[in-house]
Amino acid sequence: MRIGVFICHCGSNIAGTVDCAAVAAKAATYPDVAYATDIMYACAEPGQDAIIAAIKEHQLSGVVVASCTPRMHEPTFRKTVERAGLNRYMFEMANIREHVSWIGKDIEANTNKAAELVRMAAAKLRLNKELKPKSFPVTKRLLVVGGGVAGIQAALDAADAGLEVILVEKQPTIGGKMAKLDKTFPTVDCSSCILGPRMVDVAQHPNITLYAYSEVESVSGYVGNFDVKIRKKASYVDWVKCTGCGLCTEKCPARKSYDRFNEGVGPTTAIIIPFPQAIPKKASIEREHCRLLTGGKCGVCAKVCPTGAINYAMEDEIIEARVGGIVAATGYDLIDWKIYEEYGGGRYPDVVTSLQYERMLSASGPTGGHIKRPSDGVEPKDVVFIQCVGSRDPSIGRPYCSGFCCMYTAKQAILTKDHIPDSQSYVFYMDIRSPGKGYDEFTRRVQEEYKARYIRGRVSLVYPKGNKLIVRGADTLMGVQVEVEADLVVLAVGAEAASESAKLAEKLRISYDSYGFFMEGHPKLKPVETNTAGVFLAGACQGLKDIPSSVAQGSAAAAKAIGLLSRDMLDSDPQIAFVSANRCVGCGKCIEVCPFKAIQEIDLRGQPKAEVIETVCQGCGLCNATCPQGAIQLSHFTDNQILAEVEALCRF
């Protein structure tokens, strides 16, 4: 074998703390290395061309590039060697950037370590085999999980491109958080006027199948062919018969049920249609509030329903579907603001969350768009907004900025003035973060035109005195303590990943960070991909973002999914297990442990043997580590290849 080694400077990223020429000189002495050099930018066009030229000039049969992480550029360089006529698997990478140059400044140690990593890579490459992928057909159907604005956008874009789309939404209606908003910043246009038509489009699109009040139960399979089980939760209403007339919701006697859609601002009935523009506009019964389902006595809704749609015996239903790709768009939840005892910890009715306030502002909300104090129904005059409740607070494990609270607080202050012209708003803030088109102008307008009083400082205590709430805080610009007598306090509660996002991540086999946000493939270059092929991200589930960004990411995720599913066939990864039938004793241990049922027992001349189903195997190598005699090996990560790496480190 003739190996070529290329040590990349990555500008000064590597060369700054690694003597690349010395590494190349050392590499030239390794077994089978026919050519070694250092190179400024291996991944750039001149770099790639130089590699191709060297392969031809020195008749190289394998290439090692020492540069960044293979998770970044392995696909790039595999294509490069392929262009030079080599099999793409006759290539190895040594990660001397993330694992060497970026984590230490000791040039001597770094240079030595880089040379070692190259030695490992070359030792492994000597045992590499040419591998050829197989093709398999793709299911041209997309699953979108989450029917907020990001999921709606992704579903519509993909459906418009001709893909079949399955949209799964946990709540009885799509619309997500945006549907709860009264107006949107910075244009102060009506949220339901812009979202409503898109929701209708979802309902009417011939390519979209909507499963509302449903959740993803399990996901198996891989890119191109995921097998998904969807749990359609029992709504106790036959949605085929339900016309959405709402008679049941008028007559239901369980009138003290928690109103999820209205964030508990007022009570609702046990059978609900969340809001007038709901899609699908169908009734559903919340089991824990229903008198019949909990107490066995009632049945009013069944009596009044003109179409006989009520079915108290309904059970959850499991729907199975095969899809080629998945978009996760599960959004966010507010943090539990009740942990802040200094703001009353949920004890004072007139301390409300921003989302509750949004429902109080909304004309379709429980107060009909009139701002009323929850305690006594009186219109407030002095309204205090407290920002960063649960954002930028390391003490509760939420050190990040939620990103959109500054803007919606400004919007809510404007709307307060619009609703109650003689009102005065106060906003306690840490910093105003408004980097967006027209955003900073908006936060100025609220102060200059709408005369909201912005106070830079934190609130230390909110307490009731008489029928007022005393808000005590610091004005750090003036250096004084301030006390405001407020009628209503609105907490700009920060956001976190949706409560069950970690569970979904486990089902989708994607990574998530310590706050529950899903990990993108690369923070810059793969913002909507994940490291699991065929799974894409849209909206706040990847990281908090406002409506325009969520919509943009929804479209981006759709574009990626469309690109994937526009192909009829996909290449399977050839880094899969293979069996040496003559060494297999047919003990079946590999079959027992394989997580994918990718190994089957066959009969070979009367002897039981294991056989790998190539399109099912995902290349984890668990079978390889299980087989006592090593009869089943994982291509590209064989025992001998790993042993060669270990030997390279131990022997020298």
Partner: protein, 348 residues
């Protein structure tokens, strides 16, 4: 009853301004089976003003206290005073740093050899003795007493050092008062500043800050403001004249929680030491007994009512069985009686 033995650090105010706290604490601990062993020849904990000037010297004061305890085999110490608690605990925490500890040791020349712990009397009563044991000892319940609990700044804060109760909305004292039988009002200014440390540098703000606390308590209808800190007690109790001059409307007694415990346990006047309070507690107890009578009367009425209802139901059941349907007449009668009863209660 199982007895526990703990080292005891009374603190300087226990010998002077908070003698009533000291007396009642000792009495209550005796009743609860806590054997207090006072640290021999104890000294100042090193709190104000030392810790603001020289943290090492301040910690050395604390270290000597622990060393004195160590000499007689005491390593677990309690103190009633939150300020002492804070300084003693901070000293232990600072001495986790070897360099700091070495500097302290150089001053005391008596390095600590054992692990030490320091807790407040309140924490030991709530966490180690338990509210059930407290409840079991109540002879004269405080039924009818409207109380607010005021914790001050130091008892629960900083959170990471004190690790006891909620730093913004503590409830330990509330719970104690509740098992004593008092009605505890949800007081929002539990951890507000009483102005204690301002009394020298900014004297005029102290009555103002203390007054705000008393004002809200009074507005809420409290009979007493219950405290656990000598400095808070002094500010709230002693300065009510100044506070009134600054616009305060209410006069309220400010007892220590241990005094009310001693009272509810039925201990002697010497143990409750109420007479050492500046504002007389007697009016509060007058309100308490009046309300207690009302509550008893109300309970008696309810009992009669319930009895009547039960009898009516039994009769109705009997009649239904007999096939007659006259039970309906009974109910309006019962209702009107209830109405007149509550009207009478309101008038009283």
């Amino acid at each position: 009853m199982s007895k526990i033995t703990l080292g005891y650090f009374p603190g300087c105010s226990g010998l002077g301004t908070s003698a009533e706290y000291e007396k009642s604490t000792r009495a209550v601990c005796r009743e609860l089976g806590i054997d207090l062993r006072e640290i021999p020849d104890w000294n100042c904990c090193g709190s104000t003003p030392a810790h603001t000037v020289d943290p090492v010297l301040s910690s050395a004061f604390s270290a000597r206290v622990f060393a004195q305890g160590e000499q007689v085999g005491i390593t677990d110490v309690i103190t009633p005073c939150p300020s002492c608690l804070s300084n003693l605990r901070n000293a232990l925490r600072h001495m986790d740093d070897e360099l700091f500890a070495a500097r302290v040791d150089a001053l005391t020349e008596r390095p600590l050899k054992q692990e030490h712990s320091i807790k407040s009397v309140l924490q030991v009563i709530v966490e180690d003795i338990g509210l059930d044991s407290v409840k079991a000892r109540v002879r004269k319940p405080l039924t009818g007493l409207k109380a607010v609990a005021y914790y001050g700044c130091l008892m629960n804060r900083p959170e990471k050092v004190m690790r006891f109760d909620d730093p913004e909305n503590p409830v330990a004292m509330d719970q104690v008062l509740e098992v004593l039988g008092a009605e505890v009002l949800p007081f929002p200014l539990k951890v507000d500043c009483c102005g204690g440390s301002m009394s020298i540098p900014a004297r005029r703000s102290t009555p103002h800050l203390a007054g705000k606390i008393l004002d809200l308590a009074g507005e809420m209808g409290a009979d007493v403001v219950v405290v656990a800190c000598p400095l808070c007690q002094m500010n709230l109790d002693l300065r009510q004249g100044q506070s009134r001059a600054a616009g305060l409307k209410y006069t309220l007694p400010v007892p220590y929680f241990t005094q009310l415990m001693a009272y509810a346990f039925g201990l002697s006047d010497a143990d409750t030491a109420f007479k050492l309070l500046a504002e007389d507690i007697a009016p509060a107890f007058t309100c308490m007994s009046r309300r207690s009578d009302e509550i008893k009367a109300e309970e008696a009425r309810k009992a009669v009512l319930a009895e009547e209802k039960a009898r009516a139901a039994a009769e109705k059941a009997a009649k239904t069985q007999a096939g007659t349907e006259t039970a309906a007449e009974k109910q309006p009668g019962g209702k009107s009686r209830a109405n007149s009863a509550s009207a009478a209660g309101g008038a009283a």
